[in-house]
Symmetry: C2
Subunit: 424 residues, 2 copies
């Protein structure tokens, strides 16, 4: 239904076609008319640089339904995807290379690249693999202390929840600690919550940083500056090419909001089809709508299959020699640790390759399976990972994992027994 | 047809609907299939950060047909509108506030805002109102000399052709002078050619900076760095909300191209519907296609009407007391000079307003006609303008101009006779 609504918005004259009802269901036609009525000139006109007001209102209602606290559409800006939103906000925060931004390691490279583009300083903090990739506040304190001793002003902290590449869902208790930490250290918290609809277990459902903050009450809930990001690229849609997203600002001063608006208006407006897509995402069909049953069936189908795939993949990795892998609680990735034997590391050096790159290339050559070496996301010295998505078709998954296992176990065999071989 | 193609690309499962042929013509269906085949996963997937290769090829073919010289798709990047392209290129050029960019005055504010955002220095050069808003090379030299005396390195020059807000089409001779000037001064030329399809006279057809450069031959044609911008927001489409555009680089070093690619990939990819729209714009229906006749009729209709509106508006302004206006040779704007009497300037000061803002507000109050004061675009001291688009419906135009004339002539009467009134 969603895509059909966009189709009709793109070519609104179709609404006058006598045969339109043969191709498009009635609620789809009604939704298309609704979104067209929110624009000032259909998809052919620039919108407000912050996004179409009627859609920002739908986003605010979505947030209120999700968190139980009202949200102000004036503090929601629509963007060409979450990436652009993150870049806008980091641009507002970073003034010079003395401004530090706390970023998780491993991290999604958007953050390191943008901070470097804007001339700021990345201040890394490690996620705890043994604590299911949770945040350790002692670690955080050390990172901040070290940055300060280098003359940096740490101004903001990024969390990715659910995590990319690490797949964890942060617990409410962990989020509370993080919020307190930001408050004590006067940091803006950037909450990258683009995977909030992708949850594959029931123990730790997604909870937004904003809800935890509001639940805490008191001065922190009225003072801590938080910016939360979301997108149409993930969830059960995965509509990456549309480039629709939003950010919501909490406790950000009106003057700063005004400045961010000014910068946004330089490039006129986010793309309008992406904005409508976002509207559809935050207000999906409701019980009673013609498309409701189908929507529920399809979205549940996608998420349940992803949940099964997350399980097959984690189990698959954990059955391999020298591989350990946390369960993908959310997001779309698996990030197994590969314990490379010293001989494999030596062979990589000889080949002029970083060890995890060496492993991933060998994997690609042997099996055609394409993965991203963990070094692209940052990791502790001497610890190696790879990242893969859980997106291959469910029915292909067992064969893929079997092929991986065969490669990995042979690889380990070869390099663990290397000395043995070379003795012959 | 164009919009219907996008509609089908948005909801490709419609192509399997038995009734699709009742709503969509056959060539539309074929084009939708063509564009879907160029993507790697329909509109739901990110594309190459430079844009879909097949569409970059179509852009290159369009440029070759237009200019008579081949163009390399590898040097064409698709963007979320020309604004984003300009920002990407200025970002690649500006390193500090000592880097100067020559920008026309009056100018489209994208340039001043982006240069200030990126921390560069705007070096203004005046367009010659009495020479139909042409460029005077003597002026340019002075601007550069002055910037250098202030310790700046002038690194690039912007031209807007056809002009916004000034509506001029640069002559081939003028473009040649500009290219030579850039070559002598080692400047990158940024050619904002977003209005290239909006031409309203036959004496000075649009000619691209690239074609003039190639026609010149010799070392300059192999060395001068040129970046040209185009968009789906203008022309006879005016599809502003789609945010589709491209830039083409000429004589830019592979290393720089690589860097620009790297920065583009931070935000993954331009929006895919906008890319397809751009493809449709650069390869419109051809003779023999079902939609060809209709396309020609509609696009000609739009442009001819704009041409008549440009004439009505220029004539209307020139019939007003103390108003002089160059003909809108291209683009979508009229930029009349308003010769404000000293008493009007005094009254504006008393009201705490910039004189042209004062005039435009009075105009808005009296007639409902909304215009942009010239000071928003920059102008010489003590010279006042307003900018208006030529986009009101043709049939409304005579009444609008009559209403403007009445307001203006009353205004002039009041402030020219001010002393008279106050003597009573
Ligand atoms: C953690 C994270 N944040 C942001 C993004 C960017 O999403 P968008 O497509 O909305 O720009 C991604 C995309 O993969 C992501 O993984
Ligand atoms: C001179 C000029 N350049 C660039 C643009 C930006 O166009 P786009 O919509 O492609 O970002 C405009 C829009 O009005 C313009 O007038």
């Amino acid at each position: 239904m969603m895509l059909q609504v966009i189709a009709l918005c793109q070519a609104p004259f179709l609404l006058d076609d006598p045969n339109v009802g043969l191709v498009f269901p009635a609620d789809t036609i009604a939704r298309a008319k609704h979104y067209l009525s929110l624009t000032s000139g259909g998809l052919g006109a620039y919108s407000d640089s912050r996004g179409i007001p009627g859609i920002r209102k739908e986003v605010a209602e979505f947030i209120e339904r999700r968190d139980g606290y009202p949200s102000d559409p004036e503090l929601i800006f629509l963007t060409d995807g979450a990436s652009k939103g993150v870049m806008q906000i980091l641009n507002a925060i970073i003034r010079s290379d003395r401004d530090g931004i706390l970023v998780p390691v491993p991290q999604y490279p958007l953050y390191s690249a943008t901070i470097s583009l804007l001339g700021g300083s990345l201040v890394p903090y490690y996620l705890e693999e043994t604590a299911n990739w949770g945040l350790d506040i002692v670690n955080l304190r050390q990172s901040v202390a070290q940055a300060r001793s280098q003359g940096k002003t740490v101004r903001a902290m990024v969390i990715i929840n659910p995590g990319n590449p690490t797949g964890q869902c942060l617990s409410e208790a962990n989020l509370k600690e993080v919020l307190k930490f930001c408050y004590e250290n006067n940091l803006v918290l950037l909450g990258d919550e683009v995977y909030q609809q992708n949850i594959y277990q029931d123990e730790r459902p997604f909870i937004s940083a904003r809800k935890v903050l509001m639940d805490m009450g008191g001065p922190i809930s009225k003072e801590l500056q938080l910016v939360s990001f979301h997108t149409v690229s993930k969830g059960y849609w995965g509509e990456c090419g549309q480039r629709g997203g939003y950010f919501e600002m909490t406790n950000v001063s009106p003057k700063t909001v005004e400045e961010i608006y000014k910068v946004a208006s330089i490039s006129l407006s986010p793309n309008v089809p992406g904005q409508i897509f976002l509207g559809l995402m935050v207000s999906p069909p409701k019980p009673g709508d013609i498309s409701y049953e189908r929507f529920v069936r399809e979205s549940k189908g996608v998420l349940e299959s992803l949940r099964r795939r997350a399980q097959i993949m984690t189990d698959g990795f954990n059955s391999c020699r020298n591989v350990v892998c946390n369960f993908t609680e959310g997001a779309m990735y698996s990030f197994p640790q590969i314990r490379l034997p010293p001989k494999a590391i030596e062979a990589a050096k000889k080949a002029g390759k970083v060890p995890d790159v060496f492993y991933c290339l060998k994997l690609l050559e042997a099996t055609g399976i394409s993965t991203v070496p963990g070094s692209g996301f940052g990791q502790k010295d001497g610890v190696f990972h790879l990242r893969t998505t859980i997106l291959p078709a469910e029915e292909d998954m067992p064969a893929i994992m079997a092929s991986f296992k065969k490669f990995n176990d042979d690889f380990m065999e070869q390099y663990e027994d290397y000395r043995g071989y070379s003795r012959m």
